[in-house]
């Protein structure tokens, strides 16, 4: 196991080069370059703003565009990273079949290249934050840590799905639907506070809000982003995420990473003949 990790470390330049390749190829021939990757979240932000401030005005959330974009950008990173990582091994089959290198580099590199896109989109978010006069507080120092946690979680998921997709090609198709559902189940365009604390389902009292966070690490991660960048829907300024809450999120994400890596390494030796 340690040998594998050492090998992965030795190939770090390949990881770097693959990320650079992804970015270069993506932006090489478009005039607007990476601006295109902003179009989608910005458009969604506008749509949600219109829907929730004009069409469903009874849910009043202050500085709604900032509220939505703080969640949309991380979600977008997660979504694109997972989708492209799922295909990464199969898509690079020509490489996998002809050259040896630690295969985990492929899904990991797609996660990082999408992370780079996420970073490139952040200035727009900060512009919006300044525009809406959301105070910048020391809670912002948590931002890099939250990103690391999200990357760990995303890589974990990416490794599992990339493996699955080698053996069952419709994983990618199914994931499109799953990601859509996941998006709606994650408090992106609505605050988690609107969820009832408990709800009677089939005669059982279900702690719905807690369950959302427990079952969905993305909900916790996005809540953390929101907490340090936007604050709260009652208008209180950004604060550091609660210690208990945040440490649980970290543990979950690391667990996901470890499980993902184990699953991947368990099957990766068969990729050469299965791709």
């Amino acid at each position: 196991m340690t040998a594998r990790l050492q090998e992965l470390y030795r190939y770090r330049e390949l990881l770097e080069n693959l990320v650079v390749r992804d970015l270069k190829v993506r932006y090489k021939h478009s005039v607007l370059g990476f601006l295109w990757s902003l179009v989608n979240p910005l458009l969604l932000m506008i749509v949600f703003t219109i829907v929730f401030t004009f069409m469903l005005p009874n849910m009043t959330i202050p500085k709604f565009p900032v509220f939505v974009l703080t969640a949309l950008l991380p979600w977008n990173f997660f979504n694109t990273a997972v989708m492209s990582a799922t295909n990464s091994i199969v898509q690079n089959g020509h490489l996998v079949k002809k050259v040896y290198f630690p295969r985990e580099i492929l899904p990991i590199s797609t996660v990082f290249s999408n992370f780079a896109n996420f970073l490139l989109a952040l200035p727009v978010l900060f512009l919006l934050i300044l525009l809406f006069r959301v105070p910048l507080t020391s809670a912002l120092l948590y931002l890099p840590l939250i990103m690391v946690v999200q990357i760990a979680f995303t890589i974990g998921i990416a490794l599992i799905l990339a493996t699955l997709n080698v053996f069952y090609r419709d994983t990618a198709v199914i994931m499109e639907v799953v990601m859509q559902a996941w998006f709606f189940l994650t408090p992106v365009f609505y605050p988690a506070d609107v969820l009832p604390v408990t709800k009677m389902i089939l005669g059982l009292e279900v702690p719905l809000r807690r369950l959302t966070y427990i079952l969905n690490p993305m909900a916790s991660i996005i809540a953390s982003y929101r907490s340090v960048l936007y604050g709260f829907t009652d208008g209180s300024p950004p604060t550091a995420p609660g210690f208990d809450f945040f440490s649980r999120t970290i543990v979950t994400s690391l667990l996901c990473l470890v499980v993902g890596y184990l699953v991947f390494t368990r099957y990766s030796h068969r990729f050469g003949e299965e791709v």
Partner: protein
């Protein structure tokens, strides 16, 4: 010291045509009543293969297609893992299994070199160090900063090869990728591989080019059906392999010929009647036969009738099989397409008055065994069997060997050779023996003919009717068409002076 150790390695591939490739198929499969095909096909690409390679050694792997050579390399490159057994490889492996596998068309040559370098496990600094050498080797100085999608395929492959070969591996695996670029680039590649060899790089080479194997590696491994047939000095292993291929070809060729003969028994019967029975019946049969025959054949009709009148019936299926050959020709003549295995087939022809006939021609080796595949340098006898329906005084037997493009190589006959055959009558055989077959590897055609003494009247002329192959034997020469026995001598200037004084 063994740098590579392969111990009792077997590799099994599951060949399941209906393996569920999607979740849907998997679910449907689970619920369907049909039991899972328990006998899913297993294919053992390698069976208990063991060998070691020492540091600095060059090993060539040879064998026919599908015998496990590439599987072997893939295992060494760690692209796939063995089903059983262990493989130990110490050192950096660079595998040239496919050139430019990691190239991205949108990136420039420069970017791709660095990317490919890191795929092969090189650091950016190491690559920067070698970059100029790579570009110079690929001869792409002017084009290195344009995307490789604009490269010609030759440029692409050159850059890929230059990158792969310049990563200074400890172990280089090469799978049949030496045949890239033009001749001068190929020479450069071989030179570079030789240079790596000099530097102590361990090289494992899979190739169908036995020359490349013989030239580059001292040791060769012959794989057949997943097992190591032979492991030893490359010259010896290659020779054994050639012998094996040769024997197989021989057996296949003889089998096809026998099958052809067996397939035409009816025609043999009519032909036999035509040549051997009463004139009335014969003419009738020939007439029927002629409807399907070439013009060349009909020329001899009257002669055949006379022959039938006084000749003894002979019943050799072989001769008749040959007689059938021209019959099969006309359709081929109408088609302009040329069979690559039989380029001169359309010129095959037979004519003559047939007072005497050539029944068949066989090639005999030194043990008087019939052969269709010969080897350069061996003793070969061309045996021309004839049947003379009447006594012919001092006949002239001749033959000619043609290269597959039609070039005539020789054309001897017994009159020129001052070998007197007083007369022929009935059945007999004329032998033309070459103590050292001088033909180099290739396909050749033999013409056999029987004329009168002056060489003006053709009794029977079989133009290009006998095709045979020659394989390379112990003779090392391989350029051109023929091997001319000769001696080399280095005449030292001192000796010349001595001679003058």
């Amino acid at each position: 010291m063994a740098i590579i150790e392969v111990a009792h390695v077997s590799k099994c591939f599951h060949l399941e045509p209906d393996r569920p490739r999607s979740l849907q198929e998997l679910v449907v499969g689970k619920f369907s009543r049909k039991p899972h095909p328990s006998g899913s096909k297993l294919f053992w690409a390698l069976k208990d293969v063991s060998f070691q390679v020492n540091a600095g050694e060059t090993l060539g792997i040879i064998g026919s297609n599908g015998t496990g050579k590439s599987t072997c390399l893939k295992l060494l490159a760690r692209i796939i893992e063995p089903t059983q057994g262990t493989i130990r490889v110490d050192g950096r492996v660079s595998a040239l299994l496919e050139l430019g596998a990691g190239f991205h068309p949108e990136l420039t040559g420069r970017e791709n070199v660095f990317l490919n370098g890191s795929v092969l496990g090189m650091s950016r600094r190491e690559m920067a160090h070698r970059f100029d050498a790579i570009v110079a080797f690929a001869e792409l100085e002017q084009f290195i900063d344009i995307p490789v999608k604009f490269y010609s395929s030759g440029m692409y492959v050159r850059l890929a090869f230059a990158t792969a070969i310049n990563v200074r591996p400890d172990i280089l695996l090469v799978d049949e990728v030496l045949a890239v670029g033009d001749q001068s680039f190929q020479d450069k590649c071989l030179e570079r591989i030789n240079a790596l060899k000099q530097r102590g790089v361990t090289i494992i080479l899979v190739s169908h080019s036995l020359d490349a194997i013989r030239n580059l590696s001292e040791r060769a491994l012959w794989m057949d059906e997943g097992i190591v047939q032979e492991d030893g000095v490359s010259d010896m292993v290659v020779a054994r392999y050639l012998q094996y291929v040769h024997d197989q070809d021989e057996a296949a060729a003889l089998a096809t010929r026998d099958a052809e003969r067996a397939a035409a028994p009816g025609k043999v019967a009519t032909a036999q009647l035509a040549t051997a029975t009463a004139p009335a019946v014969a003419s009738e049969t020939v007439a029927i036969g002629d409807a399907t025959e070439s013009n060349g054949r009909s020329k001899h009709k009257p002669a055949q009738n006379t022959a039938g009148g006084n000749g003894d019936p002979h019943s050799d299926p072989r001769s008749d099989a040959h007689e059938e050959k021209p019959t099969a020709q006309p359709p081929a003549q109408e088609q302009p397409t040329v069979d690559p295995d039989d380029p001169m087939g359309q010129y095959r022809n037979r004519w003559g008055s047939r007072e005497a006939e050539i029944l068949d021609v066989r090639f005999l080796d030194q043990k008087n065994q019939e052969r269709l595949a010969l080897t350069t340098g061996e003793r070969v006898t061309v045996a021309i069997r004839y049947y003379a329906h009447q006594r012919i005084e001092q006949p002239m037997f001749g033959l000619a060997i043609h290269r597959s493009d039609g070039l005539q190589i020789n054309g001897p006959n017994n009159i020129l050779a001052k070998y007197d055959i007083p007369y022929i009558e009935g059945e007999g055989e004329v032998h033309y023996t070459l103590d050292v077959l001088p033909l180099l590897e290739g396909t050749y055609y033999l013409t056999a003919a029987l004329y009168d003494t002056a060489g003006t009247h053709a009794y029977d002329h079989h133009a290009l009717m006998y095709r045979f192959r020659v394989y390379r034997g112990n003779v090392e020469e391989r350029y051109g068409t023929v091997y001319l026995p000769a001696r080399w001598q280095h005449v030292h200037p001192v000796i010349v002076e001595d001679a003058r004084t």
